[in-house]
Amino acid sequence: MSARTPHPFLVFGFKTTHDALLAEDLLRDVDFDAVPVPTPKSLGSLCGVAIRVPFEQGNVARAELIAAGLPPASEAEIEDV
């Protein structure tokens, strides 16, 4: 069995599904690789949908969201395989 390389991502949590999907739209419109994901347990107080971007895009993506009036309610780093 071959070992797979973990990929780091930043996950943004939002107060509502509405905001999460708006954020996905916004980020995709400016060519971020934004993907809806189940809210990870590290974002604890949220449930439902969160938005994941590659870790290296995280800072710029966060800035885009804040500029658009959609600041994430929380965020966490995860590693995917």
Partner: protein, 399 residues
């Protein structure tokens, strides 16, 4: 006492029914629904099976996205800058209940226009039984509410809110709603509007109107299916929610309802097919609403004038030269409303509504509480043939 004409000679048997239906009850619910609405409901039932906001698998996200897009389409149609300020509810009745019960407390005073529907009158009666003072602002005999009457009521003593319909489901009267909102605000009162008969039939810009709460039926002029409606709340208006429960968001481990919109007012699994249908209705109205409204105005003028030409009818509400939403209610000098409606249905296949239209306040205001009226109401699918068929039938019945 009114003389009643004997219409039993028309030989209606219990099972007789014309093959066709001329549908003139759009004020109750629009029908037929546009094909795009039907298709959207079917698509929701067949393709959007996931529970929106309750999972991140593709089916649930697709459903959530459909709801997002439907909300945004409704917001664009209604002039709402932030679609989060629109809550999907079961209908305008729930919207009025939420706004009234969520914003008004025992000891408050409320000014309500005297033509309100039971969607407002009954929640107000419930509030009155709990210590809210309800004062009616009297409309005139055409159902028109003069803003000065509202102002006079507000001058007498401070009120928490003014509640007024945008248009009457009985008389078709369009209220001077912008002025009434302004009068309410100038006296420090909230403005709560029942827009059940306005949505789709009037061009709306809720942001510009400035009401604190505005309820809409989704299945009337907005052309969606039954069981869906909208409540607009201005960004500063925060009523207590009627329901608490799951939203798929917020702090799930906490016992309290999240405060973020729209989730605060949408506890429980949403009506996905209803929202899809309403979104399709909003899409259609954004594209063709002006044309629909122009045709409705033309047809309702013809209907109004035609009813006067038939003779024996009194038309409730504004005169024939004045704008109204596309409905006309009438009483006949010798035939009761229920008899007229029955004969129109059984003999001609014409669907109209008789009675008090869930609006006894309005009927009391225009003097028809004891007899009711027959309401003929038009919509996006109405045609000249529909109007002429109704006029011909009424000519024959009343001959």
């Amino acid at each position: 006492m009114r003389r009643l004409r004997d219409t039993t000679a028309m030989n209606i048997t219990g099972s007789s029914q014309p093959d066709r239906t001329v549908y003139l009850d759009h004020a109750a619910t629009s029908w037929p629904k546009p094909q795009a609405v039907v298709d959207a409901v079917v698509e929701a039932l067949t393709r959007y099976g996931g529970n929106p906001g309750r999972g991140a698998y593709a089916l649930a996200v697709a459903t959530g996205r459909m709801i997002l897009e439907a909300r945004q389409s409704c917001a664009q149609l209604l002039g709402v800058a932030d679609s989060r300020d629109l809550a999907f509810l079961s209908g305008c009745t729930e919207g009025m209940n939420l706004a009234l019960k969520g914003l008004i407390s025992p000891g408050d005073r409320v000014i309500a226009c005297s033509t309100e529907h039971n969607a407002v009158a009954r929640p107000l009666a419930w509030l009155a039984s709990r210590g809210v003072e309800v004062v009616q602002a009297q409309a005139d005999a055409t159902g028109y509410v003069d803003p000065e009457v509202v102002e006079h009521a507000l001058d007498a003593r401070r009120a928490r809110a003014v509640v007024c319909q945008h248009a009457s489901n009985v008389t078709g009267t369009i209220q001077p709603i912008g002025d009434i909102v302004d009068v309410a605000h100038s006296h420090g009162a909230l403005a709560i509007v029942d827009g059940a008969q306005a949505g789709g039939h009037l061009a709306l810009d809720l942001g510009a109107l400035g009401a604190d709460a505005y309820g809409l039926s989704g299945h009337k002029g907005l052309l969606g299916p039954q069981g869906i409606g909208l409540l607009y709340l201005s960004p500063e208006t925060e009523p207590e929610e009627l329901l608490q429960g799951g939203t798929g968001s917020g702090a799930s481990e906490l016992p309290t309802q999240p405060t973020a919109r729209p989730d605060r007012y949408e506890a429980g699994t949403p009506n996905t097919p209803g929202i899809a249908g309403l979104g399709a209705g909003a899409d259609l109205l954004r594209e063709r609403g002006e044309a629909f409204r122009a045709e409705e105005r033309r047809l309702v003028r013809r209907l109004h004038e035609g009813l006067l030409e038939v003779g024996g009818f009194t038309v409730l509400g504004p005169g024939s030269g004045e704008e109204r939403v596309p409905l006309v209610s009438v009483i006949h000098e010798s035939i009761d409303a229920d008899q007229l409606a029955f004969l129109l249905d059984k003999r001609y296949g014409i669907a109209v509504r008789a009675g008090l239209h869930c609006a006894p306040w309005a009927h009391r205001t225009v003097g028809t509480l004891e007899c009711g009226a027959v309401r003929l109401s038009l919509g996006w699918s109405s045609t000249d043939d529909d109007v002429e068929a109704a006029l011909d039938a009424l000519r024959e019945i009343t001959r």
